[in-house]
Structure formats: structure tokens, C-alpha cells
Amino acid sequence: MSSELPSMDPLLSVRDLRVSFGAVQAVRGLSFDVHEGEVLAVAGESGAGKSLTARALLGMPPRGATVTGSVRLGSDELVGAPRSARTALWGRRVALVPQDALSALSPVHRVADQLAAAVRSVDRTSRKEARARAVAALEEVGIPADQARAYPHEFSGGMRQRAVIAMAMLHQPDLVVADEPTTAQDPQTRRQMLDLLARRTGATGTALVLVTHDLDTAREHADRLLVMYAGRLVEAGPVEEVFARPRAPYTAGLLASVPGEGLGAVTYGAPPRGRGRPQAAGRFPTAPPAERLAERRRLPAIAGAPPAPTDLPPGCAFAPRCPLADATRCRTEQPEPQTHDGRTVACHRWRELPDDPAELFLESL
């Protein structure tokens, strides 16, 4: 997919989005656009406000949250719209692929029946027609017709995820928001699910917002990346450009602290062959390195931990952890996002970030 911005109006336009609970603001003035057919990854750690942002995009803020600013889907404004107007969009124009597929499916109904009910909740069709569409939708995600009538608990985790993707895509919505699980999931399963989701949305020109804590997920599946920290945008741009040359110290630190693709490994022990055939007990050759790798294996690291929304530092929220922070502006004045050549960054000192920012984060050890 092209990383150039299409010239048409954005499908989704978010301006100065704020989500608060009482006096505590968790999303603190976020602005961005999503175009038709685009995959945008919103990456952030716990407390960054990414899941609340996702809910606000769908017009489904959690109970007790106050949302201000603007979220426009086409010509519809979601912020401040009555609940009935927002629910009318669900399934039809916006859909959620939740973190936990099990909670999205009812345990007491057959999977195909749940999809058929979702068809009929939007389109007035006969039961038979709805059932046929449900089975076809499941087949599209690789669930054969003869398994469509199973109950959710009879499915594997991967099949349940696929059923949820089929459900989200039933009415070819304009926008799908996928909230990725933060707990460790089998990376292979996760990759397959996101591949499937990107393929299905790509086929219909549906825009996809992928909410994730993992930059690698963004790199593999998204056209553009938006990095959040403490409720605000830190950096946004085409994924490959951000990876090649991050501008915000936070993004640079995150990228530098991930081990590389893993060069320099060699096979030296022949694998045991033949089921159950005993090999000499414990006699894999021992490791050849005369010196252990330990001394050489320090990673660049970001010191400290992300702040809680209730306990934000003054100035730039990243300042207490930032090796580039100065004692004046960074500590007093919140940096505002600025856009230059298609890249957005919110940092007072982004122009001073060195060519190899990893070194900044090695010094902090």
C-alpha cells in the first residue's frame, strides 16, 4: 500500500481529542487523520491512553468518561452525538475487533447463529439468507461450513479470533479498530490474525486502526505509525520512515532497546534424529565461546517507567526519562506536535537528536 497521503478528504478526522475521568485526563489533546483503506498503528505503553482513544474513535467511551474535542467519521461527528446515533454506526460503519475474542462471542449460541443475528441486526433479510451470509463470511476467514455451527468453546483460540474478524467485516464497515492483547500471546498466532485482518480490510478498502503496545506489530502491518506517551502524540509518520529515522527521543529509545534481527548464530550440535532414540545422555557439545557473551550484551535502555495519568510531571511528560531533556523548556512547557515533510513530532529538541540515538540510551546505564 502506498504511504503517500491520498489527496481526498480523510475518512476519520480526530481533533484535540480529550478523554477524562473526573479531574484526571487520560487522553490529552490528540489530533490525527485516517484515510480510506489506510492501516494506522497507534502504539503506546500502559497508561498511554491508546485503548481509550480506540474506544472514542468508535463512539464507545467507557462509562464515566468525558470526551471532548472532535471525532468525525465522514460527515458524522461522534463526540457529543446521542447514544442512539452512535450505536447506529456500530457494525455498519465502524466495528471493533476486541482484545479478547472469547468475550466478544456469546458462549450459549452457535457461532454461525451469532453472525446471522449480526447480519439481521443491520439488514432486513430472511433467516435463511442471513444464515447463508454468516456461513459465507466464516468461510472467507477459513472456517469451513461444517464447523460454522459449533459453539465458541469448541473452537481453538485462533478460530475464535477469526470468527470475530468475520463478524466485524460482515457489513464492510468504513473503519475497523483492533485492540491488541497486551499479554503475551503466541507471536505466530498473533501475526496470522493481523495478517488476516489486514487482508480482509484491504479487500474492501476498509480503514484499519491497530492499537498495539508493540512497535514490531506496527512495522509488519501498518502504513503509518502514531506513537503515544502519557495521553499525547509523540511522533507520527509513515512506518518505514519512523523506523529508519525516529525523531522523538522516546521512539528512538524504544527502537534502540530492542535486540536486532539476530545475526551471528551458528548451528553446531546435530539434532537428535528418530523419535525416542536415545542419544548419549546430555551430550550436546558444550558452548564453544571461551568468554561468555554477558559482558557484551547490554542493551540501550530507557530509564524509569511511564507516569500514571494521575501523576504527570510538568512540561514534557517524557522529560524525567529523556537523556536529551534540558533543564528549562522540557521541564516547564509541553511540546506541541509540529509537522514537517509528512512527519509529525512533539519534542522541543528533535533537531538535536544524534544520528545514532542508541548511544544516548547507553549512557543512562
Binding site: E45, S46, T182, T183, A184, D186, P187, Q188, H213, D214, L215, Y250, G253, L254, L255, A256, S257, V258, P259, G260, E261, G262, L263, G264, A265, V266, T267, Y268, G269, P271, P272, R275, G276, P278, Q279, A281, G282, R283, F284, T286, A287, P288, P289, R292, L293, A294, E295, R296, R297, R298, L299, P300, A301, I302, A303, A305, P306, R321, A358, L365
Partner: protein, 235 residues
């Protein structure tokens, strides 16, 4: 030098299923062996058998010159502190109701090595060793960040004066900006204390960065062991 851990033809069955099928490997003091493979491949069952939390169905586990699999529970107990786990979920491994300092002191109390005069200083030293402030000792797990909690879990393991740590996905549940700090801490502790590590992980790049050798499991069997000859460069 004889290995710290020597696993010979280990077999673990779950009912009719063979979860670990004649697996053999060794770990030297100061060495890290990465154990990698898809979920359900038998990594965790291997770890449980190494920790002797699950007695294997066949095979031998030699640790520090003793055959653990030949010992009954009574004779095993004094050896257990030297084999410590660090789990994936930093909050789940600490009791939510206890202060961090009590959680760290607990193994000392259980072993009967708690001394009322020197104990608190020992806890403070352990906190410092893992990069926490003495003040963190007065907090409860939910008052700490995930990274701080994981550090507390490591301090608790160190209180037992272990020789081998079984690290079961120790950073995969943590926020990305906290992971490198924990890995650096583990590397530093290993250098200083000569600990052996069994590092269970599903991220190949991470394993190649962190480990001296990598053992790959599939369907209960060890299919390949690889030596890492140079650490991967940061990208």
C-alpha cells in the same frame, strides 16, 4: 568444570500425552541457555521438571553434582532454594497483600536464615541490587510499576542465594520501555554472581541477544541446539 545443571533423557507425561520426550541438555555456571519453541512444545513442562515442581516420569536431573531425581522430598528440600523461578507476570508472583520487603524476607524466614538484626539490612541490600529504593520495600505490588514488580520478584529469588534461575518469559508481559532495563539487570547479576540461567522465551531475536546457547523444542523434543557466537547488534 562440571555443568551446574545436567538434564538427561528427561520425560514428562501429561496423561497419555508425552509433553517432554527424552530431552537432554546442560547449563554451566554463568551460562545462559535459551529454550525456545511454539506454545505447547514442552518448554514449560521442561522448566517445571528442572525446578522439580513436577517430578519427571523418566530421566535424570543433575544439579550441582547431585541427582535430584533420586532424592525424596525431604532430602530435596534443602537444595530447592538454589533453583529459583522468575515468572512472566510480575504481579502474579507476589502476594498483593504483603509489602515488598516482607515478600523478599519470606524465603529467608522459611529457610530459617532470618535474623532480626541483620535481616532488614539484607532486604535493603537486595532491593538496591535490583535497582529499587529502600522506600519501595514499604509498598505493595499494585503500588509499583510492572518493571519495579519484576525487579522485586528477582530480589526475592536472590534472597535464596540461588545458583540457577529459571526465567520464564521474564519480560514479555512488561511494557516495551521497561524490558531492556530488566534484561540488563539480569545480565549484570549473572556476571556478578555467576548464576546459570534457563531462559524461556518465544522471541528469537531476544534469545539470540541474551543467551550463550539456544535450544529449540518442538512437540516435546529438542530439535536443535545452537551456539550464539556474537551478540546481535542493536538495530
Amino acid at each position: 568444570m562440571s555443568p551446574l545443571l545436567d538434564i538427561r533423557e528427561l520425560v514428562v507425561r501429561h496423561g497419555p500425552r508425552t509433553a517432554v520426550d527424552h530431552v537432554s541438555f546442560t547449563i554451566d555456571p554463568g551460562e545462559t541457555l535459551g529454550l525456545i519453541g511454539p506454545s505447547g512444545c514442552g518448554k514449560s513442562s521442561t522448566a517445571m521438571a528442572v525446578l522439580q515442581l513436577r517430578r519427571p516420569d523418566a530421566g535424570e536431573v543433575w544439579f550441582d553434582g547431585q541427582e535430584l531425581t533420586a532424592l525424596d522430598e525431604r532430602r530435596l528440600r534443602p537444595l530447592r532454594p538454589a533453583l529459583q523461578p522468575v515468572f512472566q507476570d510480575p504481579y502474579g508472583s507476589l502476594s498483593p497483600r504483603h509489602k515488598i520487603s516482607d515478600a523478599i524476607a519470606e524465603p529467608l524466614r522459611v529457610q530459617g536464615s532470618w535474623d532480626r538484626t541483620t535481616g532488614p539490612a539484607r532486604v535493603a541490600e537486595l532491593l538496591e541490587r535490583v535497582g529499587l529504593d529502600p522506600a519501595h520495600g514499604d509498598r505493595r505490588p499494585h503500588e509499583l510499576s510492572g518493571g519495579q514488580c519484576q525487579r522485586a520478584g528477582i530480589a526475592r529469588a536472590l534472597a535464596c542465594e540461588p545458583k540457577l534461575l529459571v526465567l520464564d518469559e521474564p519480560v514479555s508481559a512488561l511494557d516495551p520501555s521497561l524490558r531492556a532495563g530488566i534484561l540488563n539487570l539480569l545480565a549484570e547479576l549473572q556476571e556478578r554472581l555467576g548464576l546459570g540461567y534457563l531462559f524461556i522465551c518465544h522471541d528469537m531475536a531476544l534469545v539470540r541477544h541474551f543467551c550463550d546457547r539456544v535450544a529449540e523444542m518442538r512437540e516435546g523434543r529438542l530439535v536443535r541446539t545452537t551456539a550464539v557466537t556474537s551478540p546481535s547488534p542493536p538495530r
